[in-house]
Symmetry: C2
Subunit: 324 residues, 2 copies
């Protein structure tokens, strides 16, 4: 079996060794640029871990893992246009550095590149793998649309929110793991359990993201703490606070959301104080732990020796306990 | 065998019967809208004709044909954003009717829908079919990028132009035919010949488009005659004229291209007169006929009974002789 640094090394090497065509350069330079910006490579690492869990051939999992990473970066390239984001991993986004047209079209080609990598799996699992991949891709797009709808929605419930992050974030973790399991020749029952492990872990991961955005250690977080509060983002924390607040607290919270003259740092302090009063962090952590436990239970139920599961368990725990 | 109206009817029915999910509606309504705007359905019809040519099972070709039509409409949805086009088939484009973000994301989902339809082919031909489809998709994107580059390029040669239309337009006709041939269990040699038929027919088709834009009968053309001239579009006709013009004619032609005060109709009349003086229509028609002949030669070389080829021959001839 491989440990996580070994798997990450395999992916980093695969990224570095990827040669895109030279022409037309407006199409391929942005792809190489975005793929080269780094990131945690969580999703491809999970795919490799899944193949390894079932003692499959890791070599056969590298192209599909790269497919998942390429697909993930394609969604980032298009999401950044829609979100009008100037930066990605601290560097200019593709649409900011080149143009929106370039980011649309380079993203499209990137999606095809992902398919080209994915169809390299053995023919006998190809239909099943592509079915998982397609469902995953549809889910991610639906999640992004629902997330955009939240910006103008007057009311978003916790159930709406959990469904959105399930689609936008979690199905890709589940899909990557299930594809890795299929490459490792897992039976469908075990592959589905590993999907559930990833799906629930993905929801826990996003809830942790929401918590870190407010309660992260500024020295370790790597992004501006309170960014979600500043932009009125409908996270689990804000939705829960709006749900639990009494009339006076609700009016106070809404006044901060609607106040365009308050300084960002004052707004972060004030809204965080309301979250604290309502005990939102504890509630969010409890919700996150519920998903983490469901996730680990699914892993437990998989019929492989317990010692083979240690790396995925360790990975899941580190994802939940991370500080950035 | 089926005649062309029968095949078109099969496709129209398949388009009408397609049910997209209801939620999120911003994602699926634009897809149903664009697919419902009509069009000639050339590409899926070609796929069905190819399966029929080899006496294959047309029923098995319907989903892949819909995949090709869905992919084609996906490229239109994204191209229209890049081209800032307000209208498509006389109706508002998706980005104009909804928003750019919707058009980006609905296009992405449409691309996944195309893959979902395409993987419905029999498992034994799936790897080959997807390889053709992926290569086709990459080609179309590269063609669009090269076409966009032309807008700001100081010099575009006839060779550059032919390469661009090969990618942007012709590979999709070739790809649709080759996939149809594979579904009809054609051998690879014949499938490749049918690809060549489509590729050369596609180039001839685009050259005919360029000719019609200037020389079409306004009553039959359906679009504004001279639109390419008004927008200084680097078509075969303009590139050839710039290449053949003597110094004085060149200077005159350039003065029209750079003149922003002349009325559109005066510009069309003046540039068309220069094209006439240089005999551009005849040259373009000769070039188009060259590709049409290469196309028909490839069809001739395919090892099936001649009477089975009549529909494709007829289709090719009608495409070349069309007036809109």
């Amino acid at each position: 079996m491989h440990n996580i640094p070994q798997l990450q090394k395999i992916i980093e090497n695969a990224v570095k060794e990827t040669q895109y065509p030279n022409h037309p350069k407006e199409l391929y330079q942005p792809i190489a640029y975005l793929m080269g910006l780094g990131g945690k490579r969580l999703r491809p690492a999970l795919l490799l871990m899944a193949t390894d869990l079932f003692a499959g051939d890791i070599k056969k999992a590298i192209s599909p893992a790269m497919a998942i990473e390429t697909f993930h970066n394609f969604t980032l390239m298009h999401d950044d246009i829609m979100d009008k984001a100037p930066l990605r991993r601290g560097q200019p986004t593709v649409h900011a550095k080149w143009s929106e047209s370039v980011a649309i079209l380079a993203g499209d080609v990137m999606f095809v590149e992902a398919f080209k990598l994915m169809i390299q799996v053995d023919a006998h699992i190809l239909p099943k793998v592509l079915s998982v991949f397609n469902d995953t891709a549809v889910g991610v797009c639906e999640g992004q649309q629902i997330d955009m709808n939240f910006e103008t929605a007057s009311k978003v419930t916790i159930a709406d929110y959990l469904e959105m992050i399930r689609l936008k974030t979690a199905v890709l973790l589940g899909g990557a793991l299930k594809i890795g399991a299929l490459i490792g020749n897992a039976n469908i029952a075990d592959a589905d359990k590993l999907y559930d492990f990833g799906l629930n872990l993905g929801i826990a991961f996003q809830l942790q993201d929401d918590i870190l955005d407010v309660y992260g250690d500024p020295e370790k977080f790597g992004k501006q703490v309170g960014g979600d509060i500043i932009s009125n983002k409908k996270t689990f924390l804000l939705i829960k606070a709006l749900e639990l607040a009494d009339a006076q607290t609700l009016s106070e919270l809404n006044s901060y959301l609607e106040n365009h003259t308050i300084s960002p740092s004052e707004k972060v302090i004030a809204v965080t104080a309301i979250f604290n009063k309502l005990n939102i962090k504890t509630i969010a952590e409890a919700q996150m732990m519920k998903y983490a436990e469901t996730s680990l239970k699914a892993l437990n139920d998989i019929k492989v020796k317990e010692d083979r599961k240690l790396i995925l368990k360790d990975f899941a725990e580190r994802l939940i306990e991370r500080e950035n």
